[in-house]
């Protein structure tokens, strides 16, 4: 068979460039297979993150011919062969080396997500939920945290300054899962509006386009969340109803105080990381599984340099204003 040329980004935070590797084509291969052959041959020091090779671990995210995709799920025979296959790291996140990026931004935002706050259990001490109540959220459970949606989202891809105030599509589906949870009593809408950037999203649907699990992120999570925020903040009839029924909304700060970032005795401060390698990432009372992942392999350190978060323990934003 003919040869294939892979044009792979080589470099780290000090700079880099594309390098071409010409390999014999093998039928049935995916991009990741060819990269492994490059590692076994001409470039044993090529860094790329991978694990399951089955599109279920979400590790091998990259940009193939400019499109964010999983390397293990992109067949070589669906790519044009007349030109080199370009493989670049995800653009939105800081590079560590070659195709490996520091995706810790996503874990930082995950830790600020207020977890499930269930209502009181029934008389016998249990909870009961019907299938129709939970099946809407089950779609979001398919997420493999490949962060392709976070990567493709132009809100942070092209505007780095939005990162501190934008949860991103991956976390919007988590917010929607919890907001529509039949047992949940938390109200995250003000948090979403003021701090987590639901208003920054302009629903151009790229997150849905790149999702390897085919989750309808925009239609089933982001737009419903926007509509729920309309309920809480932009709907005059709902506002009147709240006034008449004397219901109050929970403020963004109040909701944020339920987040694991508040209950977990941890810090992403670099100094503490150096002195306390064991403690970092040890969450106490945190209900969000994403939290545990923040200390897992592959999650680079979120360095404090350039961090913008205020440091007052009682108020995560310094002011209630947020966005």
């Amino acid at each position: 068979m003919a040869d294939v040329t892979m044009r792979v980004w080589r470099g780290d935070s000090t700079g880099g460039d594309f390098a071409d590797y010409t390999m014999p084509a093998v039928e049935g291969e995916v991009v990741l297979d060819v990269l492994h052959r490059i590692q076994a041959g001409p470039a044993p020091d090529l860094a790329c993150r991978w694990n399951c090779k089955a599109g279920k671990c979400g590790s091998c995210s990259a940009e193939i011919n400019g499109m964010p995709r999983l390397m293990c799920m992109t067949r070589m025979d669906e790519l044009p062969t007349e030109e080199p296959v370009v493989v670049a790291p995800m653009k939105t996140f800081p590079i560590i080396r070659d195709l490996v990026t520091d995706v810790s931004f996503n874990y930082v935002m995950a830790r600020q997500l207020p977890p499930l706050k269930p209502r009181a259990p029934e008389a016998d001490g249990t909870y009961r939920m019907q299938q129709v109540d939970v099946e809407r959220g089950q779609e979001f459970r398919k997420c493999i945290e490949c962060f392709l949606c976070q990567n493709v989202c132009h809100v942070i891809r092209d505007h780095e300054e939005n990162k501190p105030n934008y949860a991103g599509p991956r976390l919007f589906i988590r917010y929607m899962e919890l907001e529509s949870h039949p047992l949940d009593t938390n109200d995250r809408r003000e948090l979403l509006r003021q701090r987590m950037g639901i208003g920054l999203c302009n629903i151009t649907k790229c997150c849905t386009e790149v999702c390897p699990e085919h989750i309808k992120i925009t239609d089933n999570a982001i737009i419903p969340l926007k509509e729920r925020v309309v309920d809480s903040s932009y709907d005059p009839i709902a506002w009147l109803g709240r006034k008449i029924l004397r219901r109050t909304k929970r403020g963004a700060v109040e909701v944020a105080q339920d987040a694991p970032a508040f209950t977990a005795p941890t810090s992403e401060d670099r100094l503490e990381r150096q002195t306390l390698p064991v403690m970092v990432g040890t969450a106490v009372g945190a209900g969000n599984p994403s939290t545990a992942a923040s200390a897992g392999p592959g999650a680079g350190p979120a360095e404090a340099a350039g961090g913008t978060g205020p440091t007052a323990a009682g108020d995560p934003f310094g002011t209630d204003a947020g966005a």
Binding site: E63, I95, V155, D158, P164, E254, L276, A305
Partner: protein
């Protein structure tokens, strides 16, 4: 302080020893006192080349198509609105046909016969289409699908997936004026009222002159198709999906809303198609009525 906040020992505020956790003596062990929001790293060095996009597929085709079609639609609509003529075919030509752009005709400048029994704004002497288009225009311009379409094709924000944004600063829909997109739900309520009016227009187009019998012409079918397309477009809307059942958290306790939500969700999956079809049908209906009213041909009677 929120109810669920606990310290490292699992004690809640208010419990003995829980409200003011003591700092542990062990050096370097964090306590609740050390908790602080996690700073987000920004400004890190990114990998890959500094180019607009690495995509080589024709990603620009879709936004270019949208740009051309929407521009043509806006140009045609502006022309049709300010032409202020040939929008009504009276009973003299056997049918009451009114252009969907000019309905409801409730202002003083309407041609005789076109306003039926409703004549509300006697003092309004500008083109009636400004009223006729206000509701549907508001609905369409704040529609979640059209927002995607024009943000990509006109505002270049972004022009395509993994293609760089055309603007340096970006605040999305969090600031004025785009924060006004949140009125979409109310635009939907208005659009429903318009649909009712346009449906009445379609029904009126089946009336025969004179004895008041019923007949079918191409014009009556065109207006019926227009009303049907607009109903499908507005019933598949995301705001409709939320209002009918999307706001419910426990579907098991709201079976009717759940059923409605499931139906609307199915329609919502093809909202984009309805958006385009209804756009084209409105133009076709307006053009058809316009041609008949201008006397190019007589509305063919089928039976």
């Amino acid at each position: 302080m929120a109810c669920c906040r606990v310290d490292r020992t699992g004690r809640r505020p208010g419990e003995p020893g829980g409200s003011e956790p003591e700092k542990e003596d062990k050096p370097g062990v964090s306590t609740i006192d050390d908790v602080k929001p996690i700073p987000v790293t920004i400004g890190g060095v990114r990998g890959g080349p500094a180019v607009r996009t690495l995509r080589r597929d024709p990603w620009w085709k879709s936004p270019a198509f949208t740009f051309v079609v929407l521009t043509l639609f806006v140009a045609y609509t502006v022309w049709a609105v300010f032409q202020n003529a040939d929008y009504f075919v009276g009973i003299s030509q056997h049918r009451d046909l009114i252009s969907p752009l000019y309905s409801p005709c409730i202002v003083g400048s309407c041609v005789p016969g076109s306003h039926g029994t409703f004549l509300v704004l006697h003092w309004w002497m500008l083109t009636p289409a400004l009223i006729g288009l206000s509701g549907p225009g508001l609905f369409r311009s704040t529609c979640y699908y059209y927002r995607k379409a024009y943000y990509r094709s006109f505002w270049q924000s972004p022009p395509g997936c993994a293609v760089a944004d055309g603007h340096k600063r970006y605040t999305g829909e969090s600031r004025f004026p785009l924060i006004l997109q949140n009125i979409h739900r109310y635009a939907w309520y208005v659009a429903i009222a318009w649909n009712v009016i346009l449906t009445i227009d379609a029904i009126m187009a089946y009336r025969l002159p004179g004895d008041g019998g019923i007949g079918v012409s191409v014009g009556s079918l065109v207006l019926t198709a227009n009303a049907a397309a607009l109903w499908m477009y507005s019933l598949s809307c995301h705001a409709c999906r939320h209002v009918t059942g999307g706001h419910v958290n426990e579907f098991s306790k709201a079976p009717i809303r759940h059923r409605l939500w499931k139906v609307v969700s199915k329609l919502n999956a093809i909202h984009m198609q309805f958006a385009w079809v209804s756009l084209f049908v409105v133009v076709i209906a307006d053009a058809y009525v316009r041609m008949v009213a201008a006397g190019w041909f007589t509305d063919p009677k089928l039976f």
